[in-house]
């Protein structure tokens, strides 16, 4: 048995632990730990992904305790999509943070690796309580990242984030406890099998508790209020990770709970899906509507994330393979686009010396490359062809029309127009020819470590936009695996369990 799955969790956690010690000695030896850890995580994740692509789902039993007694890591084609996002996001962040002066510190590296390990664990685990632990670990690491600046505002933002996630965590744990009380197991597959033994009320209450909990963590309207505070206080570098990657992991947990554990057998399943569809529409309108007014570029992008949770929900809550494929595709695209937007926005803020759009007059001449990447990513996130954002929006629209959800398509349309307006509002300032006097560094950072990740992301946006089959080839099996509850159960408990 290859130990790659567990290594994707252990390596970053161990790295975080080690870096606290190297910091005590000297900041200069940090790369000695950081580089192998980053490469190791990337390599382990890659080998897991390749293994799943070549041989199908894997089950990793921790301590050789077979399920349902031991805790297992269950990796199928859904997990690898999100594992890919986690490892790519973390590796890119390591490079990008190296190039940005404030985030290059040791504390930041520790928290970043902690978050990375927690997220890897959350997407791989096959145990519900384990998921709770990793989700809480993500919250703790995330709060640390948000509050790292130690200013009053970031303390308040971190506190808000912690309270929302904390309350959501208790909701989730309550749901887990209810399920355990009725079935006596925490293994996701066994839970799914024994769900019929649970009395309907308990089942529904547990389901709704879990959906609410991860609704808060993915920041869908109206559970999103912590998110703009947190992202603005965290700064662009971290917000990119929280929005691009952490949000996707929470979304994965939500999907696993909905489709893997509860599934169509659950009484409340259809109700929850249709509520999520409505929540998706509301999120798009409210998110874009609020982003339209923000002067702080980070808050603007934060509200845009709220809206894009809505887009993803319109896809994944559809319940058909096509719809879920489209939703997962948009989740992947949103990772690429939002990270590019946050980081190029971060670069521009440091050129101007302020994150406020109203002060960004003429930034296009000082930072043409950053504005260029921002423009490409903005086109993609609005959904202008031929970018990846268009491809996923097109698939979402088609899947909605197949279910005759014309209202949702109109919401998509309004969202497109609104989102272009706020990106143009920024762009109209950026392209102005008479720059005001800048404070700050005043020229863009052209070192490879600062620019490389951005150019890479822009390239991915365009390549996936022109050849979307590159992505859908991975995502369609993922969507099928997500919807196929029996395959999920047989992967964990063995084929004999499904009868």
């Amino acid at each position: 048995m290859s130990h790659a799955p567990v290594l994707t969790i252990i390596i970053p956690l161990a790295g975080a632990f080690l870096i606290t010690f190297t910091e005590l000695i000297s900041a200069r030896i940090r790369p000695v730990v950081l580089i192998p850890v980053t490469l190791g995580h990337l390599g382990a994740a890659l080998s897991v992904i390749l293994q799943v692509v070549e041989q199908g789902p894997i089950l990793y039993t921790l301590g050789m305790w077979d399920p349902p007694w031991g805790i297992v890591l269950s990796i199928d084609s859904v997990s690898i999509v999100f594992l890919g996002i986690v490892s790519a996001g973390s590796a890119l962040l390591t490079v990008f943070a190296w190039g940005s002066p404030r985030e290059a510190g040791g504390k930041y590296a520790v928290l970043r690796l902690l978050l990375c390990g927690a997220m890897s664990g959350a997407v791989l685990t096959g145990d519900l309580f384990n998921l709770f632990v990793f989700a809480e670990l993500m919250t703790i690491a995330g709060t640390g990242l948000v509050a790292l600046k130690r200013k009053g505002e970031s303390a308040v933002a971190g506190f808000t984030y912690l309270m929302f996630s904390g309350v959501a965590g208790t909701f989730f744990l309550f749901g887990v406890a209810l399920l355990y009380g009725s079935t006596g197991t925490l293994n996701m597959a066994q839970l799914a099998q024994r769900l019929t033994e649970v009395d309907p009320t308990t089942q529904t209450v547990a389901f709704v508790l879990m959906v609410t909990a991860f609704g808060v963590k993915t920041a869908m309207v109206p559970l999103h209020f912590w998110q703009p505070f947190a992202y603005a206080a965290a700064g662009g570098t971290t917000a990119a990770l929280l929005s691009g990657v952490t949000m996707k992991v929470n979304l994965y947990a939500l999907l696993r709970i909905c489709y893997g554990i509860f599934g169509r057998q659950a009484g409340a399943f259809d109700d929850v899906l249709s509520v999520l569809l409505v929540v998706g529409m509301v999120s798009i309108i409210v998110g874009h509507g609020l982003a339209l007014w923000q002067d702080d570029i980070r808050r603007m992008l934060a509200f845009s994330s709220v809206a894009h949770v809505g887009y993803i929900l319109l896809g994944v809550a559809g319940g058909t393979t096509a719809a879920v494929t489209a939703g997962l595709f948009h989740a992947f695209n949103h990772f690429v686009m939002k990270v590019a937007l946050f980081w190029s926005g971060r670069g521009m803020s440091s050129v101007i010396g302020s994150p406020y759009i109203s002060r960004m007059n003429g930034v296009g001449r000082r930072a043409p490359l950053l504005v260029g990447v921002f423009f490409v990513a903005a086109l993609a996130i609005v959904g202008i062809p031929p970018t990846n954002g268009f491809a996923s929006k097109w698939l979402i629209a088609l899947s909605l029309l197949a279910e005759a959800e014309i209202v949702a398509v109109l919401v998509l349309m309004v969202g497109t127009a609104l989102s272009m307006m706020y990106y143009t509002r920024f762009l109209s300032r950026a392209v102005q020819w008479a720059p005001e006097s800048f404070s700050g560094r005043a020229v863009e950072d052209r070192r490879l470590r600062a620019v490389g990740p951005l150019v890479l992301l822009a390239a991915v946006i365009l390549i996936v936009g022109v050849l979307p089959e590159l992505a859908t080839a991975f995502l369609e099996p993922a969507a099928r695996a997500l919807l196929d509850q029996e395959a999920f159960i047989s992967n964990i408990l063995g084929a004999a369990a499904v009868q």
Partner: protein, 511 residues
């Protein structure tokens, strides 16, 4: 040479070239090249490059054989136009670009919905007439592109403020693509009548203008109304006439914009209240202006006459025809005004404003630091420039060549319309046709003779409608902004309570 490709399971072929768009594509290519040439006096390579991109985008869009490629082309046009609009922009022009994007992204979003419905219903994205359920979305999108009244405000907002060298290029593509799309995808008698109404209202707007480029912008609105009146009929004759009128309009409207630009370039402004007597100074430009005016007014033997004649026979003397004739009076009148007050006038000869032409236009399209360099240049050339106050101060050849070529086309399409639309006979020059077409011209001359003060250029302020819309819109938006901001200002516990409430509601729904 056809490219076949598959995008997300949709089979697409590119390009599409048939009898509907071959003329359009040809005129896009030829006129596009001339507009690129026209930007050269600006000595601004980025501007020329952006104009080139815009031209390529236009040709790409016109060759689209499916909805998807058409959308890509339209978006390319929108964004290349945006970058032309905000080329070295101050905050005012940047705001213009913002509004421009607002209109065109709405059009694109509507098109997207129409396209999705079309694909869901037919399983194909080949360019074809839209299924009924998709028609409203397509029409709403094209109403923006083809400036149906009152959606014309984006055009009269943006084009007069665009960099003067870029306006000819801007005026060629976007609106014509709207007309072309109506001809191909969605149309109908109602749309044709909206086109007729737009033709009249556009002209009425134009008559109130005293700035040359604003006047021409309103005439785009009006002329596009003509084209829609033909193209939306969806008969073969109507589409042919509409497209022919579009091509003619590309030729003579670009010509007129180039004339206005040449005057702007040499004199330093294009305000009709302050122009006059340029005929001796700029004879070639004057000739171009005469030809363009005659063509747009529909004087026999000029391009506009031929296509308007085809339009009339396509509309078949319904009320629509009379609407177009009514619009023709205004057209003739406003181009009498245009040419007269610019080149003949009552105020003697206009002198160029101080400074060299290319330095003066610098304010419009050159960077502050480049301006300083230009000033140093000007000092060096001061001796040579001193003598240029008298005599001819014609525009440079890079402007005159496009003007000349387009003048030739304006006449050619009138004299030999078969070149453009095969099978056109000289029946369009029958006595009855001539009489019907000359009537509006005579009416215009009558008004010009007896009531010129009605059209005389005067100090003009921005269209009240536009100002009103902006104020009301601005107020509404600010109120909404305050409301939305208020909803996010409370301590976090309020929202945590909302989370609990959401759980309760969701549980209530699920139980």
């Amino acid at each position: 040479m056809t490219i076949v490709y598959t995008y997300l399971g949709v089979h697409l072929r590119y390009p599409l070239l048939d009898e509907v768009n071959e003329l359009l594509v040809t005129s896009f290519v030829v006129v596009g090249l001339l507009t690129v040439l026209y930007t050269l006096p600006a000595r601004d390579l980025p501007l020329t490059f952006k104009t080139g991109v815009h031209v390529v985008a236009g040709v790409f869009a016109a060759l689209a054989g499916d909805f998807f490629t058409l959308l890509v082309g339209l978006e390319l046009l929108t964004f290349s136009a945006y970058f032309l609009l905000v080329h070295r922009a101050d905050s005012e022009r940047a705001a213009v670009g913002y509004r421009y994007i607002g209109f065109h992204i709405s059009a694109a979003a509507l098109f997207f919905v129409g396209m999705a419905i079309q694909y869901t219903d037919t399983g194909s994205l080949q360019l074809a007439r839209a299924v009924p359920s998709a028609v409203p979305y397509f029409l709403a999108a094209f109403a923006i592109k083809a400036v149906f009244f009152p959606l014309h405000i984006w055009l009269v907002d943006a084009y007069p403020r665009a960099p003067v060298f870029a306006v000819p290029a801007l005026s060629v593509f976007t609106t014509k693509m709207g007309v072309y799309a109506i001809a191909r995808i969605a149309g109908g008698p109602v749309v044709a009548y909206i086109g007729g109404a737009t033709a009249i209202l556009g002209v009425l707007g134009a008559l109130r203008q005293s700035n040359a480029r604003r006047l021409l912008s309103y005439h785009i609105v009006s002329q596009v109304g003509y084209m829609v009146a033909g193209a939306a009929l969806a008969t073969q004759a109507g589409i042919a006439a509409g497209v022919f009128h579009a091509v003619n309009n590309i030729v003579y409207k670009t010509l007129l914009f180039m004339v206005a630009g040449a005057v702007f370039f040499t004199v330093g402004h294009d305000d009709l209240t302050r122009l006059g007597g340029l005929v001796r100074r700029m004879p070639i430009t004057f000739f171009g202006s005469m030809v363009g005016s005659a063509a747009i007014a529909g004087v026999p033997l000029f391009a506009g006459y031929a296509s308007k004649e085809l339009l009339k026979s396509a509309t078949g003397y319904t009320p629509l025809t009379y609407m177009l004739l009514l619009a023709a009076i205004g057209t003739a009148l406003s181009f009498l005004k245009f040419t007269f007050y610019m080149f003949v006038g009552e105020r003697g000869t206009t002198q160029p404003e101080s400074g060299r032409p290319d330095e003066r236009t610098a304010g419009d399209h050159t960077a502050p630091e480049a301006e300083a360099a230009a000033e140093a240049d000007a000092d060096a050339d001061a001796g040579a420039e001193a003598g240029s106050g008298r005599g001819r101060y014609e525009a440079p050849w890079t402007m005159l060549v496009p003007i000349g070529v387009l003048s030739v086309f304006s006449i050619l399409f009138g004299v030999r319309p078969q070149l453009a639309v095969a099978g056109t006979t000289y029946g369009i020059y029958s006595l009855s046709s001539l009489w019907v077409s000359v009537l509006p011209l005579l009416a215009a001359l009558g008004v010009w003779h007896f009531a010129r003060r009605l059209v005389k250029p005067h100090e003009h302020h921005e269209s009240a409608l536009l100002v009103e819309m902006r104020t009301i819109g601005g107020r509404g938006l600010r109120a909404l902004e305050r409301a939305l901001a208020f909803s996010h200002q409370h301590p976090f516990q309020v929202y945590l309570f909302l989370v609990t409430l959401c759980f309760v509601v969701l549980a209530a729904i699920a139980l």
